[in-house]
């Protein structure tokens, strides 16, 4: 059985979008993923990696961020591993969507994570050996159904 896996490493000093966007694009193309799914995967990686880089490090050193994307049947798994400070997206507060924009304490805060939680079907966080390991899962068949 062919294994549908791609792995790559970035660092916090890179223009990460320019690095991972072509990877996700070609992975999607190679496996015939719907463009909308490719967009969701790209956006979620973007939001999470940006978050790691913007808030994750207390020093000014270069840090690796490892990404593995796997296609398992109709399910795409993304694994992100970083050595930034502990950050569990599942515990991040949701944006104040019910509060009018002008009254929100944090007008835009948490929106990136909110998008990720909405566009992924499963998120699992582990902290191990000084690393954040985030496992994201997206069911591609959902995309075909209007209710997906």
């Amino acid at each position: 059985m062919t294994k549908h896996v791609t792995s790559f490493q970035m660092t916090n000093k890179m223009n990460c979008f320019k690095r991972f966007q072509p990877e996700v694009e070609s992975f999607g193309l190679a496996h015939g993923l719907p463009p909308k799914s490719v967009f969701h995967l790209t956006l979620c990686l973007d939001e999470l990696v940006t978050n790691i880089i913007d808030y994750g490090y207390a020093d000014f050193d270069e840090h690796p961020i490892d990404v593995t994307i796997t296609l398992d049947g109709s399910r795409v798994n993304i694994r992100i591993e970083d050595d930034a400070q502990p950050f569990n997206v599942l515990e991040a507060p949701d944006p104040e969507l019910d509060v009018p924009l002008e009254d929100r304490l944090r007008p835009i805060g948490g929106m990136g994570i909110h998008l990720v939680k909405n566009m992924m079907d499963r998120i699992e966080y582990t902290r191990a050996d000084g690393k954040n390991i985030l496992m994201l899962q997206k069911n591609i068949c959902n995309e075909c159904c209007p209710q997906g």
């Binding site: 223009n15 979008f17 790209t42 939001e47 940006t50 944006p95 998008l115």
Partner: protein
């Protein structure tokens, strides 16, 4: 980015990707327009392929600044998968979204 002005409405046509780099360019442009006293902004996103939460933040910034000045911000031509980002974030209720530029020019 292509800029134009029609009937008092400043139109910013953004193409390609609003990634970190593209968003920074758009933010600088928007701040300059607000600084110059523009009060009606239309973002033409018909050629836009990608936006993230940082891109949304720039739109919200324009909205908040212009609301105080009784100004207007609208968006036209967004692709369906980008519209979903507006819906999930709840910003489809804040920004008038028009299918195309003509509709926006008459509806704004």
């Amino acid at each position: 980015m292509i800029e134009s002005k029609e009937n008092g409405i400043f139109i910013l046509a953004v193409d390609g990707n609003l990634d970190a780099e593209g968003t920074q360019a758009m933010e600088e442009k928007v701040l300059a327009l607000l600084e110059a006293g523009e009060t009606s902004l239309l973002f033409d996103f018909s050629q836009l392929d990608y936006i993230n939460s940082s891109g949304l933040r720039v739109l919200v910034l324009a909205y908040q600044r212009l609301k105080k000045a009784s100004g207007r911000v609208a968006i036209c031509g967004i692709k369906d998968y980008i519209q979903e980002v507006f819906e999930v974030s709840g910003y489809d209720k804040i920004f008038p979204l028009f299918p195309d530029r003509n509709g926006a020019m008459t509806g704004m």
